[in-house]
Symmetry: C2
Subunit: 310 residues, 2 copies
């Protein structure tokens, strides 16, 4: 293994000089800099990560905690993870992958052993037991999603409220006359029966409904089935707009107009916030990413009438 001392000797300078050339933390005559850089290349020198971390109190590693099982669409999650890694590399950081099943203790472990400098925690739930731990950790973190009490924490998510509004707008604009635009919200379990029941109930209560907003990815398939079975054609009798991953929207028949989950953007934003915090900068407690609607076949020619959000 080539050490900094080897490089120093080879270049005829002190080890500290090599260090400073590499970090750029103090000015160096261009002559010495060149000599050192040549030696670095000649010897194939790579700074030892542990030694560097020990001396500088910085590992340059971020933790990424992914959910094990979740309602989340797996490809979206993967996209997110990839984006976190790619962005981290842009800032000269690496990413340690943790699974949620390590629980709060896992966060404590990697943080307090200084394995990582900061954490990105995905799929944070309303009453997540990791939240108090994160708050007390001696390093910055970013949560994806947000808990009931987000005090002193940095959270990032899609702006679901705006996304819903965006969907409703889209449907409303479609209903040319804009009369009778009425909102109804209905939660729904992920079984076919539950969807069938919910939709039947909805149609009974509001026979005039002509538009649906789905923010519940697992029920998208069943919902289309149910509508078909009930004889409601999409989009002729019923418009549909979903909040889901693009690939899911595109896989349906007809393809769904949708607000995308901006996984890549969220991952990038998460890392950028962390880096800012690591550098002592300030970031907002809550960052909500603006929705982006793509119109597809499920909402082209909707008639006028009521709207519903599921």
């Amino acid at each position: 293994m080539v050490t900094i001392a080897d490089v120093a000797r080879h270049a005829g300078v002190a080890a500290s000089t090599v260090s400073y050339v590499l970090s750029g933390k103090r000015s160096i005559s261009s002559d010495t800099r060149d000599r050192v850089q040549r030696s670095v290349r000649a010897l194939g020198y790579r700074p030892n990560a542990s030694a560097r971390a020990l001396a500088s109190q910085r590992s340059n590693v971020l933790a990424l905690v992914i959910p094990l099982r979740t309602g989340m669409h797996v490809p979206v999650m993967m996209q997110f993870a990839t984006s976190v890694v790619t962005t981290a590399r842009r800032f000269d950081h690496d990413v340690l992958l943790l699974t949620a099943d390590e629980g709060p203790e896992g966060l404590e472990r990697v943080a307090q052993s200084s394995l990582v400098d900061a954490l990105v925690v995905m799929d944070v739930e309303l009453d997540d037991e990791r939240v108090p731990v994160l708050r007390d950790l001696p390093m910055p973190s970013v949560l994806i999603g947000y808990p009931a009490d987000a005090d002193r924490l940095t959270c990032i998510d899609l702006d679901f409220v705006a996304a819903g509004a965006r969907c409703v707008d889209h449907l409303a604009v479609e209903a040319a006359e804009r009369r009778g635009v009425l909102g109804v919200e209905t939660p729904c379990e992920h079984t076919f029966e539950a969807v069938l029941h919910t939709v039947e109930q909805l149609l009974r209560d509001h026979p005039g409904i002509t538009g649906l907003v789905v923010q519940n990815e697992p029920i998208i398939g069943p919902l289309l089935d149910v509508l078909r079975r009930l004889g409601r054609r999409v989009p002729e009798d019923m418009s549909l707009v979903a909040i889901c991953a693009d690939d899911v929207a595109e896989r349906q028949v007809p393809q769904l107009s949708s607000v995308t989950i901006p996984a890549e953007r969220i991952g990038q934003q998460a890392v950028e916030s962390l880096i800012t915090k690591l550098e002592g900068g300030d970031v907002p407690e809550l960052t909500l990413l603006p929705p982006n609607l793509t119109a597809r076949g499920s909402s082209c020619q909707a008639p006028q009438g009521d709207l519903t959000t599921a």
Copy 2:
């Protein structure tokens, strides 16, 4: 931050004694051990990862290199990654996540800076430029998939040959009389047209075909469409067995009999091999995991006749 010196002072012993209690690398009187363990808990001591890595020349971190875009089914890949992390934790290791776009240089970077002790590289291609790099790295690695020249490398994969054989057996057993069992192999592009063309050709050349083995996940959907369009009912006119992820097989109509991609098993095996190597043990150059066939609706009542692999 609590250091080993703090613990030593608190317990009235030498720092090395604390170290030995924690590592179990030499025998300690139960009295001292108890005192030290109590102090560790009392002070909430966590060994500093960098200091430990620097002194012991072991980071206890494995690199996992995932493909960015691939023919691979994303949920399967995620399952694999999760399994790698979970298994690594069982052996007290963590996992650094790298993306394939860092290329060979990325492997060199994390290896030569001693950021990691060993590497798992997914989705290795026949002529992968990372292969020579891995061979020359001063640390063990495991490849998922295998390259043309696997000399001095450890590779793990599903035994596709056995998997294919298993599928053919399954179909052959179905064809009660076993007469006319004939094998034909046909590669196929991922477009609907290519599939249509391939199948038409196949049926023209071998009109008696009654069974198909698909080892080409992306064409599964198109293939079912094509068969439907050509008026071949599955499984009545044509049996089908796929080599693919369970969730893909289950999502089709009818559900496909299939040999699973044992992602979890592969991840586990990969890490176990690495740990063995790190401990100086020997592992086989090539580990092929045995196939496991699940019979589903696509092959229940196949008639007698020919078989084909696509």
